[in-house]
Amino acid sequence: MNNYSTFGTALHRLAILCYVLFALFPLFWLLKVSVTPNDLLYSEGVRMWPSRMSFEHFRFVLAHSAFPVFFRNSMIVAGATAVIVTLLASLSGYALSRFTFRGKYWLVALMLLTQMFPLVMLVAPIFKMLSPLGLTNSLTGLVVVYTAFNIPFATFLMQSFFDGIPKELEEAAKIDGATQFMAFRQIVLPLTLPGIAATLGFVFTAAWSELLFALMLISGNSAATFPVGLLTFVSKFSVDFGQMMAAGVLALIPACLFFLFIQRYLVQGLTAGAVKG
């Protein structure tokens, strides 16, 4: 029995290891290609690491391409979207979790319905709507669209976090002398930080890597986000893989930093001990 369980654990760990390798391999390849000099890219065959490393692609991308602009645009769009969506989703998620009101069922059904359409179907109508408002080819337009698309899911996400916080905590606060809003701000909000961090992270990544709408609504480099910008490395006759991968590696950095920053809030268990546990 003991042998069996050791064997089982080993198998389990091995499976996880395989999965992690599988998931991380594309990232590794991205990094490998980004540091491979152009002359070795096709001449060395398939190797796990180039015989000579170089940062020339990074230098070029940072100094001679429009990448810094793409990067700044993406930061603005993803950051603004994440903050706005999280703020609105917190309020609406709290309302859905705590209050009963007329039409709640239909509101939730409607929000769920918006999640059922393939986005491609909506590209043309959205372009039609944004164009007369002057919101095409603008970062504001992208923020509006991303916010609209992310709010339903973020609301459900926040609602589930609020559902996990016992109602009695707020009731106790109210009896202690707090108003509804004070109970929300002083008791519920601090306990929802993991949820807020998760929602921020989720929306930020979604907006950071969105390509379809960015491609359709933005023309020209000045308002292009980084996923659109990556396509500029594809020219008519060739693809500059080295520079493209270097730009990709650089684009990974903010997402990684962002998760590093919020990961301590993502750790659950903050509510332990509130009620009988």
Binding site: P166, E168, D176, G177, T179
Partner: protein
């Protein structure tokens, strides 16, 4: 401290009515226990007093002031929840002082109140700990501490001991009683545990299906239950019930069981001759001595020793019937035993389930 008046209070959740007109007056400093099975509306009533549920109809007054429209924070009451509801991101001292801090009390006053409450509840060494580092009993104490630091007009307890194990529950029960003796605060305590109700209450309010069944001292409810529900709910093991017909003769009254046995009653009742009645007797009042005129033979189904006494599960004319005795001899009872019902311990209920009204026996009639 305050008195609390509840006048014809009703509560509907949508089309479901959970309280059908409750009237109750709680005096200054009184300890009142609301008791009843789950779903009887006792917690809803408590939450309405706290201001956590709206009053559909009727009026609640605290110290003579109507509070129906007041927010919980303006009612100056404290509540201890079944789940304790401690703020997990605050330590014990912060949990206890939250109410005072929110009311912008002076710093010295807060410190004094917290340390005073902590001393009373023996929480001093735990003041810097977070709730998750406390045991169940300690959390319970903190919840009580949070209630007493503010010196509110009244304390509300919503099944505060249900989450504790049996031994701790007994201990905390005694502490609550002591605390009430020391503070003398008006308290309303909700429980489904009749031992808690009996031991803590100045007065018990027995509730069933949104209606108050009886209000009285613990012994009143035990000795003279107003109806079948209270008779069956108060007391453990529960009271035995037998259907019978009321008979009255010359200077005697009795209840005739379906098998023809006549059980003698100690007094007459305001009932028609031959009226269908329910006879009630508590398991601890049944005698097991043979020979009496109205004794019955019962089969023994099961013997449960509790250490302190013995519960005999009997079958009386095929119906379950319990006897509680302190006699160890009952452990070796044979397949049948003889039971007798002392008239002074019998309860008689009429057809509607209400306690039958007694009347003096008319001598020489018939």
């Amino acid at each position: 401290m305050a008195s609390i008046d509840i006048r014809n209070v009703r509560k509907n959740f949508g089309i479901v009515s959970v309280l059908h007109g409750v009237d109750l007056s709680i005096e200054n400093g009184e300890f009142v226990v609301l008791v009843g099975p789950s779903g009887c509306g006792k917690s809803t009533l408590l939450r309405m007093i706290a201001g956590l549920e709206e009053v559909t109809e009727g009026e609640i007054r605290i110290d003579g002031m109507r509070v129906n429209e007041r927010a919980p924070k303006d009612r100056d009451i404290a509540m201890v929840f079944q789940s304790y509801a401690l703020y997990p991101h605050m330590n014990v001292a912060e949990n206890m002082s939250y109410g005072l801090r929110i009311r912008k009390a002076a710093r010295e006053k807060i410190t004094a109140a917290v340390s005073n409450a902590a001393r009373k509840l023996e929480l001093q060494p735990l003041l810097a700990r977070r709730p998750k580092a406390l045991s169940g009993g300690q959390r319970q104490r903190v919840a009580m501490g949070r209630a007493i630091v503010r010196q509110p007009k009244a304390f509300l307890f919503d099944e505060p001991l249900s989450n504790l194990d049996a031994r701790l529950r007994e201990q905390m029960r005694a502490e609550i009683k002591k605390l009430h003796r020391d503070l003398g605060a008006t308290s309303i305590y909700v429980t489904h545990d009749q031992i808690e109700a009996m031991t803590l209450a100045d007065r018990i309010v027995a509730m069933h299906e949104g209606v108050v069944q009886q209000v009285g001292s613990p012994l009143q409810l035990y000795d003279r239950p107003a109806n079948l529900f209270v008779a069956g709910f108060i007391g453990s093991p529960a009271m035995n019930f037998l259907s019978a017909r009321y008979e009255v003769g010359a200077g005697t009254a009795g209840a005739r069981l379906p098998d023809g046995t006549l059980i003698g009653l100690s007094s007459g009742y305001q009932l028609e001759e031959g009226a269908a009645v329910t006879l009630g007797i508590r398991p601890e009042h049944v005698e097991m001595s043979p020979g009496s005129e109205s004794s019955l033979r019962a089969t023994v189904d099961l013997i449960e020793p509790t250490g302190f006494g013995i519960i005999l599960h009997l079958g009386l004319h095929g119906l379950p019937f319990n006897v509680f005795t302190l006699e160890r001899a009952a452990l070796t009872a044979g397949p049948t035993v003889t039971v007798a019902f002392p008239p002074q311990h019998l309860h008689l209920f009429d057809e509607t389930g209400m306690r039958a009204l007694e009347s003096s026996l008319q001598k020489g009639k018939g």
